[in-house]
């Protein structure tokens, strides 16, 4: 990376902020802190951070509201900190433009991986890295070819579109609605059963053990994530 990336941490809990500051600084990031929603919006405006880590349960302005406001002004990647059992909040945040989420309690390794993915997608223009590889799978988005262990894998057009969308966002969670809208069109955003069938088909063609997927991961109640090689 050319320069140290700046991360804005928004959380009202001092121990969480302290943890993130310590861990992220150690990873070579500059860390800014905000304790509330309004402060976060101001800081995002003023400091122009490279990434925002945002707690959804803020006391003053809800995290959802912060995303709404921030998204109107900038495309800075936002990673949401959420709790389990709040799948609805996660989906809402993602649909509003948040880039990813981490469920509290989280491991720092997991968070750092998400941050890296998000920053890479920010700094890399799409298609810059035309061949995606993960394990023995290689997807060439330019040639529209999918190979597994060097063997060409035959995919239907929709299967390929779906895989392409996942590959383009590798490492990022994609909501059902997002994938449906991108692959099937905006009219089909509620037809989750299509998606499920195609994911199943993709897994059976691409996963070594479709029963225990290692590549196309299910994010329960939210969507899917393609495991990022890097």
């Amino acid at each position: 990376m050319a320069s140290r990336a700046t991360i804005l941490v928004v959380d009202d809990e001092p121990p969480i902020r302290r943890l993130l500051r310590t861990s992220l600084t150690a990873q070579g990031y500059d860390v800014l802190e905000a304790t509330g929603g309004q402060e976060a919006i101001d800081a995002a405006e003023r400091e122009k951070p490279d990434l925002v880590i945002l707690d959804l349960g803020l006391p003053d302005l809800g995290g959802i509201e912060v995303i709404r406001v921030v998204r109107q002004r900038t495309s800075v990647p936002i990673i949401v900190l959420s709790v389990r059992d709040d799948e609805r909040g996660k989906v809402e945040a993602l649909d509003l433009g948040a880039d990813d989420y981490v469920t509290k309690p989280f491991g720092v390794d997991e968070l750092v991986a998400r941050i890296r993915t998000a920053l890479r997608h920010r700094f890399q223009a799409q298609g810059e890295k035309p061949v995606f590889t993960a394990g023995d799978l290689a997807v060439d988005l330019v040639r529209r070819s999918v190979k597994r262990g060097g063997e060409e894998v035959h995919l239907s057009p929709k299967e390929y579109d779906l895989l392409a969308e996942l590959v383009a966002n590798a490492g990022k969670v994609l909501t059902h609605r997002h994938i449906l809208s991108k692959v099937w069109g905006p009219a089909h955003t509620e037809d989750a059963q299509y998606l499920r069938v195609f994911i199943r088909n993709l897994r059976s063609k691409l996963e070594p053990d479709p029963a225990r997927p290692q590549l196309i991961l299910t994010e329960p109640g939210v969507g899917y994530r393609l495991r990022d090689a890097g």
Binding site: Q193, V197, G221
Partner: protein
């Protein structure tokens, strides 16, 4: 022996019964071989039993056995260790006695001590052998002994009467009562006498004559009966003890039955109580009987009340109350008693005058004469009755039937017909005989309509006869004096006959209505017995009373607060105003009638009566009818009381059942609360302890640790924190379940996918296990909530990881079962004890094992069940058949909308 007072609601083992059992523990057991007379073979039997025990490896030793030189008995001694007797010199004789101390020192399991009633030689420790036996028993040694019935203390007199020989050596009854086992050695008298004649019975020479007299068939039969009966009594008591220890309620089997005769006499209540005491003493069932003769119709209301009240009193005291019709009281009582094996009849001393008895005969005398073998207890009437059975304070209305002209019109018609026939017959019959035609008409109307219309018929008939047939015709005057006499007799016969016929009709009607009432009461009680919920019961009660008495009714029960409230009514929309509620409350508090027609608060619209059982007041009945004046007829009130009694008992039954249920729920709640506290404090603190311990260790000494140690500590911290997180997740899930805050988002779910997700999340937990997934490829999607089902599966995997040893195989399989899909998780752990298979899904229930308790929360499976049930599925636990291990199976319906699948597949 057990005390005689036995509370009726005994449900738990009574303290004295348990105490008795405790006293028995640690003591040796006493077995008595009881015989009716010498020579029946007691010693022989005892030795046979002892040999059998010895063959079973029991340590049996002979303390003392008198064989009296009988060879077959001596043969049985072979192989048994005999403790040498102690020699005692007494007045020049050498007597040999059982050596108690040697026996105590030897401490066998069973000691044989013959002839329990034996008197020891002076100089021994105890004067009597049974005291030696007591000491052996107290030392924990079982004793086999023999005893003849004539030696039992309480039977001493009886035996002396039978045999004319008084036995000096006796043992107290308590020995028999405390014996653990009594075996009657029974021999038919004829066989015993033959044995005597064959010289097989030991007879001391000096007493030979007396003994010959003793062994007469009559004596032996009587003694035999005594022995059997005494043993039977002992068996009864044993059963009683057993039933008390195990809290089994009656009926208490006993040969005795008590019958109490209920009449209108004032002392009747005392009589009933006496019968109750007698029945209690005898542990006997009892019956209260009222014989309803024709006299019943001449009794005043107060007397009828007394009979009804006495019968009800008897019923509340546990008797069966019966009313039978009959002509003569004594005959009916005796025939009932004989038909029902009654052994005791209780009746009151007559209050009637000597004249009455001379005219009608005395019931007591007739009964005593007719009773035969039945004991008759004649009890002086206690004058307590007025106090114990309060006089009725409720005004009742006469059962006045409204004047109905129709019978009179029809009666006039009969007479007109008679007149017509008379005019026709006039050609053939004499004038005097024509009167018979009129008499027929009068009788018909008497049978048809009763007394008053028939008297009317008499008058009309006589006038018509006079007018149309007696000269001078067509006047009411009579010329012939002979005809005056004839007319007079005609009138007399007509009045007497119509009177008789009318009364017969009344009796028939009464009997018919009684039969109907009885039938309805019976049907009602049968109906009540079948009802399980309070609301249904109250409804049935009010409906029945309203229908039978033609009244409006409300039924009030105590509510949660101090007051009582309407719980049922017929017609159902009835509500109480302030005055009525006050009257109802007064009735409830004072257990007496109030309201319209009663002494208290007569201004209320309704009459309120307490609803009570023998135990306590249950509630209040309020009745009301549209017509002014008192609400009930005397018959109606008696009927109401009968109905109310039945209802009260039934209501109490259901309320008790509900109480028990409530108590159970409370206990369960308490258990859960305690379990929650234990679980929360244990399951929260344990991981925290590890975390804090590891952290402080790292901070303080981290620098001195090598990398591996640091890594171990940090791994511990992470694992324990994750465990804590899972536990909190479980607590939250449980809370959501219990508060009903589960939001279902059912969608068609691919089982392969969801199993994959759950396995992915459980990856770390199952790191040391092998995992196999076997899901039918053509399994259709199931309809469920993704997150709930995933959590349920995760909990099952978590459970398997916890209980199955590392390295073993955890298998997740899914297949179709008709309209359901079944997902099962099976492990190779120790499995689930059969007794726990159902309870394992209970909150905070953990399978307890000998080894340390696994680190479970007792919540995971409860959550599984809650979630799966919320999704309309089921979960079950079983054990593997092929090897040890548990199998948990979730069954969920296959998704209904599988159609889009196909579209998507081809799209």
């Amino acid at each position: 022996m057990p005390a005689t007072d036995r509370p009726d609601r005994e449900q738990r083992p009574s303290p004295e019964a348990l105490l008795e059992a405790a006293v028995q523990e640690g003591r040796g057991k006493l077995k008595i071989f009881l015989g009716a007379a010498p020579g029946v073979g007691k010693t022989y039997e005892m030795l046979q039993a002892a040999q059998a025990k010895r063959r079973d490896g029991v340590d049996v030793v002979v303390g003392v056995v008198e064989t009296h030189g009988r060879t077959e008995t001596e043969a049985l001694l072979a192989g048994l260790e005999v403790i040498p007797r102690r020699r005692i010199d007494y007045k020049g004789h050498t007597l040999s006695e059982m050596d108690l101390d040697a026996l105590l020192l030897r401490r066998p399991q069973i000691a044989l001590v013959d002839e329990l009633a034996h008197t020891n030689a002076p100089g021994g420790r105890h004067p009597k052998r049974y005291l030696d036996v007591e000491e052996l028993l107290a030392a924990g040694i079982d004793v086999y002994t023999t005893l003849n019935i004539q030696h039992v203390e309480s039977l001493n007199d009886v035996v002396a009467q039978i045999t004319r020989i008084r036995v000096r050596e006796t043992v107290p009854d308590s020995i028999l009562d405390h014996a653990d086992d009594i075996e009657v050695i029974d021999l038919a008298p004829a066989d015993l006498i033959r044995r005597l004649q064959e010289g097989k019975v030991y007879v001391p020479h000096q007493a030979e004559r007396a003994v010959r007299h003793y062994f007469k068939p009559g004596n032996l039969t009587a003694l035999r009966e005594l022995a059997l009966r005494r043993t039977a009594q002992r068996v009864d008591e044993q059963m009683l003890t057993y039933m008390r220890q195990h809290a089994i309620r009656g009926p208490w089997a006993a040969g005795e039955r008590v019958l109490v005769c209920v009449s209108e006499d004032r002392g009747c209540a005392g009589l009933v109580r006496y019968a109750k005491r007698l029945a209690d003493r005898l542990h006997a069932p009892w019956t209260a009987l009222h014989v309803e003769t024709s006299r019943y119709h001449r009794l005043d209301e107060q007397q009828r009340d007394r009979i009804a009240d006495c019968l009800r009193l008897a019923e509340t005291l546990g008797a069966e109350a019966i009313t039978i019709p009959g002509a003569r009281v004594a005959d009916e009582v005796v025939s009932y008693a004989q038909a029902n094996n009654i052994s005791h009849i209780v009746l009151g001393k007559s209050e009637r005058s000597r004249w009455f008895e001379m005219l009608h005969g005395s019931v007591v005398h007739d009964l005593v004469r007719g009773a035969g073998g039945i004991s008759v207890h004649v009890i002086a009437g206690e004058s307590e009755s007025e106090g114990t059975l309060p006089a009725k304070t409720i005004a009742t209305r006469a059962p006045a039937e409204a004047f109905d002209p129709i019978p009179y019109v029809i009666t006039a018609g009969f007479i007109a017909v008679a007149l017509g026939i008379g005019l026709v017959l006039q050609q053939f019959l004499s004038v005097q005989n024509i009167s018979l035609v009129f008499l027929t008409g009068i009788l018909v109307s008497a049978i048809r309509f009763g007394l008053l219309p028939s008297l009317f018929a008499c008058v009309v008939g006589v006038l018509a006869y006079n007018f149309f047939f007696l000269p001078p015709l067509y006047t009411f005057t009579i010329a012939d004096p002979e005809n005056v006499v004839a007319l007079f007799f005609f009138l007399s016969v007509a009045v007497i006959a119509s009177n008789l016929a009318g009364r017969t009709r009344d009796q028939v009607l009464t009997a018919r209505s009684r039969a109907r009432t009885t039938e309805e009461l019976f049907a009602f009680s049968r109906k009540l017995a079948g009802i399980g919920t309070l609301d249904d019961l109250l409804w049935a009660t009010v409906y029945q009373i309203a229908a039978m008495l033609k009244v409006r009714i409300v039924l009030l029960l105590p509510g949660d607060t101090a007051g009582i409230a309407v719980r049922a009514g017929y017609p159902p929309e009835d509500e109480l105003d302030e005055a009525d509620l006050a009257a109802a409350q007064w009735t409830w508090e004072h257990n007496r009638a109030a309201g319209r027609g009663a002494d208290t608060l007569p201004g209320a619209k309704r009459l309120f009566l307490p609803l009570r059982t023998g135990r306590a007041p249950i509630g209040v009945l309020g009745i009301d009818r549209d017509e002014p004046g008192p609400i009930l007829t005397p018959d109606g009130r008696r009927l109401l009381e009968a109905l109310a009694d039945q209802a009260a008992v039934a209501i109490e039954r259901i309320m008790l059942a509900e109480d028990i249920d409530r108590a159970r729920v409370t206990a369960e709640t308490e258990r859960l609360r305690a379990a929650l506290l234990t679980s929360v404090s244990h399951d929260l603190r344990t991981p925290l302890a590890s975390i804090i311990g590891s952290l402080t260790s790292l901070r303080s000494y981290g620098e001195s640790y090598d990398d591996k140690t640091r890594e171990t500590l940090m791994a511990t911290i992470q694992a324990e924190a994750e465990r804590l997180n899972r536990f909190i997740g479980n607590l939250l899930d449980m809370t959501r379940l219990e508060s009903g805050a589960i939001e279902l988002k059912p969608e068609p779910i691919d089982l392969a996918e969801i199993v994959g997700t759950a396995l992915q999340r459980a990856g770390k937990l199952l790191a040391e296990h092998r995992v196999e997934v076997d899901i039918d490829a053509d399994l259709p999607p199931i309809g469920a909530d993704y997150l709930l089902l995933e959590q349920a599966l995760f909990n099952l995997l978590d459970n398997a990881a916890k209980y199955a040893p590392p390295g073993s195989l955890v298998r997740v399989a899914a297949r179709r079962e008709d309209a359901m899909a079944a997902v099962s998780v099976s492990d190779e752990g120790p499995g689930i004890p059969a007794a726990d298979l159902e309870r394992i899904f209970d909150k905070f229930y953990r399978v307890h094992r000998q080894d340390r308790q696994r680190a479970g929360t007792g919540l995971g499976l409860a959550i599984c069940r809650g979630f799966v049930a919320a999704m309309g599925g089921s979960i079950s636990a079983s054990n593997r058949r092929d090897r040890s291990g548990a199998v948990f199976t979730i069954r969920l319906p296959v998704s209904a909308d599988a159609a889009p699948e196909l579209m998507a597949q081809h799209g």
